[in-house]
Assembly symmetry: C2
Homo-oligomer: 305 residues x 2
Amino acid sequence: MSVLIVGSIALDDIKTPVAEHPNLLGGSASYSAVSASYFSPVNLVGIVGDDFPKEHIELLRGRGIDLEGLQIVPGKTFRWSGEYLLDMNTRETLSVALNVFENFSPDLPASYRATPIVLLANIAPDLQHHVLDQVEAPRFVIADTMDLWINIAKDSLIRLLGRVDMLILNDGEARQLTGETSLVKAGKAIQALGPKFVAVKKGEHGCLLFGGKGEFFSCPAFPLEELRDPTGAGDTFAGGLAGYLAKEDGPVTFEKLRQAVVYGSVLASYNVEAFSLERLKTVDAAQIDERYSTLHRISQFHAAK
Amino acid sequence: MSVLIVGSIALDDIKTPVAEHPNLLGGSASYSAVSASYFSPVNLVGIVGDDFPKEHIELLRGRGIDLEGLQIVPGKTFRWSGEYLLDMNTRETLSVALNVFENFSPDLPASYRATPIVLLANIAPDLQHHVLDQVEAPRFVIADTMDLWINIAKDSLIRLLGRVDMLILNDGEARQLTGETSLVKAGKAIQALGPKFVAVKKGEHGCLLFGGKGEFFSCPAFPLEELRDPTGAGDTFAGGLAGYLAKEDGPVTFEKLRQAVVYGSVLASYNVEAFSLERLKTVDAAQIDERYSTLHRISQFHAAK
């Protein structure tokens, strides 16, 4: 099956305590689409300006991503600039320029409208609604979001929750959205707002997955020693998860979602090893399988005494 | 086998955002000993004043804990007073009065000296050395510690690391002790100081276990919705872990330690449901097995695609 991914495509300037890189390929759709492409065909929906480097287009095309839904228009590409503090967990946005993204209101190509798996990557909830309106009877819809939308577009986000099968967000955002300190309570409170499944990302502490009938999965993080750039880790996670779900036919069960969460974590663990998509774009199937096996090994223990 | 536990026995005044309780049974040895007693015979080493309530002695005795090493001396019992902030993770010590604990320098009863498993619960490293000096050829020695000792007794603690098989500490302490931001690096840096095994506790995020030859285990936290009093969670974890190791003969393998970490986590999850040892003291074997099974269920996923 294919997965439809809509989100931002950006040029990022990123600063960490040890390095600074301007003009990098970024954006939620870039990371998500490349990550998903390791498992399934991807239909990409996004917009860039005529300043967008051709090499980035070639990277996406080289991953087999369908670019019929990618608009290239006169003007400048969306730009984001951010800085990570010493702990590499705290991020400050230095500047944002929406540019061509400001009035983006895509019409889906006819060939995209029946895509069975939909990932509404991190963008404004109104835009997520707009895209979802155009998909015919999707099998499984995943939404990603961020603190910004909880702050400035909460009503639209809450309405979206009634329309999706799964929400992905991080621990701080889960607490912010629900007012609950306990992540277990927060996850359940989000389920009560609509989505049957909720994934709460905890960065270096892994991920919690909530399912129907009290189903619950605690996914460990890959034990990384070095983290060079956390940008796009969440987008990569979401893309890997969605791509894995699209890989096989059949219903989305909690068992399959557990595996999808693990694959998403594996892809994210590679992504943070380098700036932009430099590491993510060179991952291969054997490397993915290797870290999946490692995560399996480090989380096992005997059932009985 | 038996486990020898030395640590503090205290009367605590504890404040949380929703409740305040004075004069509670506390101290690292109290929590550790009761927790360990669910698995193995315990030889307790500690000191209290003649103000120590008889009911607490009866609680320890009722759990089958050997009290020959418990000194009851004229004077006041060690007292600690602390307050938890709104997130229940940040704790402020309001007051400490060492009282009879100030000059505690125990001679181990002869019957304790051959105890095979030793838990040096959280106390001053010099006192941990003093007790360890008196144990004859222990099979496995575990030390617990805290930020205070890293601040004021680091040299003694570092020397202790060369004498123990395992160190238990929390994430903040692991970073403080090693200067490493990455917990994976911190765990390995601590191993390089002596202990073959290191457990890094992460509170609501579970625990990381480091073993020889790069062995690694990521233990999930039990998904608790309510947490009433985190006091003693780490001590309870250490006690359950040590008690489980003492339960069976044979060498301490990484496989057995994985299970021990899970049992420690289970006991700690019960302990934080009520103030002092109120919940911990009423746990039964079926409840322990139930949460062990839950932790097993929520951390499993298929090995293959």
